[in-house]
C-alpha cells in the first residue's frame, strides 16, 4: 500500500481499518486529485469513512464510464453491420429488379414480374430503399429505353403522395431522355398522377414529334380544368 497518499488521513484517523487499494495507472490521477481536494469532510479525522466512499465512487463511476464506452462501441459496430447488410441487400435487390425490368416488352404481362419485385422491396425495406434502388437503376440504365418505360409504368401504379418527392424527380430525369417514346411513358405517368403541381414540368417539355406535342397539350388541358 502506498502510504504516501494516505499518510495524513491515517495519522489523523481514529479508524484503524486499513483500506485496501489497488493502484492502477488509470485511476492514479483521479485518486490523487480526490485526496487533495480541500473539503471539510476529508480534513476531519472523525469522518474517516469519507475517503473510502470517494474511492468507491470513483471506481464505480469509472467502471460505468468503461461500460458506457463499451456499449457505444458495440452499438456503433451493430449499426455499421446493419448498414453493410442493408447496402448488400439493396444491391442484390437492385440486380434482381433490373433483370425483371429488362423483360419488359411494352406489354402489360411482361410488367408483372417487375411490379412483384417492387412490392417485395417495399414490404422489406420501405419506399426509401425503393427510391434509392430506382434512382440508381435509372442512372445506370439510362440508355435502356424499355427499362425506363417499365419504371414509368410501375411508378404510375402508385399515388403521387406515396412516392413523394422522389417519384416526380425520377420522372423528371426520365423526361430528359432524348427518345420520345420514353418521354411519352413519363408523361403518361404524370397524366395518371393528375397533379397540377406538375404543370410547370409539362409546360417545359421539349418535343419534336407532333403526336407528342398534342399528347402533352391534351394532358395540360385536362390538368388546367
Amino acid at each position: 500500500m502506498n502510504k504516501g497518499i494516505y499518510k495524513d488521513i491515517l495519522e489523523n484517523s481514529n479508524n484503524e481499518e486499513i483500506l485496501e487499494f489497488r493502484k492502477t495507472s488509470s485511476t492514479d490521477e483521479k485518486l490523487n486529485n480526490a485526496f487533495h481536494i480541500n473539503t471539510s469532510k476529508i480534513g476531519e479525522p472523525k469522518n474517516s469513512t469519507s475517503p473510502r466512499l470517494k474511492i468507491q465512487d470513483i471506481t464505480t463511476n469509472n467502471r460505468l464510464d468503461l461500460l458506457k464506452e463499451r456499449d457505444s462501441l458495440v452499438l456503433e459496430k451493430l449499426m455499421k453491420e446493419k448498414i453493410r447488410l442493408f447496402n448488400y441487400n439493396t444491391e442484390l435487390y437492385q440486380e434482381q429488379l433490373v433483370s425483371c425490368l429488362e423483360k419488359y416488352d411494352y406489354s402489360s404481362e411482361s410488367l408483372f414480374v417487375s411490379e412483384e419485385k417492387i412490392q417485395e422491396i417495399i414490404n422489406k425495406y420501405g419506399f426509401e430503399a425503393l427510391s434509392r434502388i430506382l434512382q440508381d437503376i435509372c442512372i445506370s440504365k439510362y440508355d435502356k429505353k424499355n427499362i425506363l418505360c417499365a419504371i414509368c409504368q410501375c411508378l404510375e401504379r402508385f399515388d403521387l403522395e406515396e412516392v413523394h418527392p422522389w417519384g416526380a424527380t425520377l420522372i423528371l430525369s426520365i423526361l430528359t431522355n432524348k427518345d420520345e417514346n420514353v418521354k411519352a411513358y413519363a408523361i403518361a405517368c404524370i397524366d395518371n398522377w393528375a397533379d397540377e403541381s406538375l404543370l410547370p414540368v409539362l409546360k417545359n417539355i421539349e418535343c419534336s414529334s407532333d403526336w407528342l406535342k398534342e399528347y402533352v397539350e391534351n394532358v395540360i388541358s385536362i390538368l388546367e380544368v
Binding site: S108, F112, S209
Partner: protein, 175 residues
Amino acid sequence: MYYVRKLTKPFNFNKIQSTKSIEDIDSDVIKQELSTKENTLSFWKCENLQEITDTIKAIILSTSEISKSKFIIIDEEIIKEHQLEVNESAGKTGYKGFENLHIDICNLTYKKLGMILKTYKKVFEDVDRTHELQKDEIKDLIIEVIQHDLLDEDNLNDSLKKDILKLAEKNGLAI
C-alpha cells in the same frame, strides 16, 4: 350496336391520329393496340351509347390496373362494311353479370388488321367516338361496382385485384 375497346396506351391515340398514313405507324403501336390471340381481337359491345357505362365498367374490370383510360367506340356498321367476323363469347371481367358483353372479332388476317387500324384512324377524328376517363373517375366507377355488390373477385386479374383491395381499404369498403 357499338363495339368498344380500351387503348393500351392513351398516347397511341395521338400517334395514330397524327400520322398521315397508317403505313407509317410504328409497329409497336400495332403490337400494343392490335395484339391478337388466336387471330382474334377482343371488344365489348354496347347496345346504345346511353348504356355505355356498363360496357366501360366491364372493360375496366377486365384489365390489369387502375389507370387513366381512353376508349374507342366503333359503330357496328363499320365492322359489317369491312366484313369482319364477330363471334359472341363470354369475357373475363370482374363485373358480375356483364361477361356476355364481350365479343371477339375473329379470323383476322394482315389485311383485316389493316382495316381495323384504318378504322381507328378514322374514328379518332370523331370526338364522340372516343371516351376518356381519368384515374379518379375509374376509381369512382369501381367503387360503384363494389357498392352495388357486383364485383366478381374471382374474375379479376391479380394485379388489378391488389389495386382494388387498396382502393376499397382506403374508402372503407368491404369486398
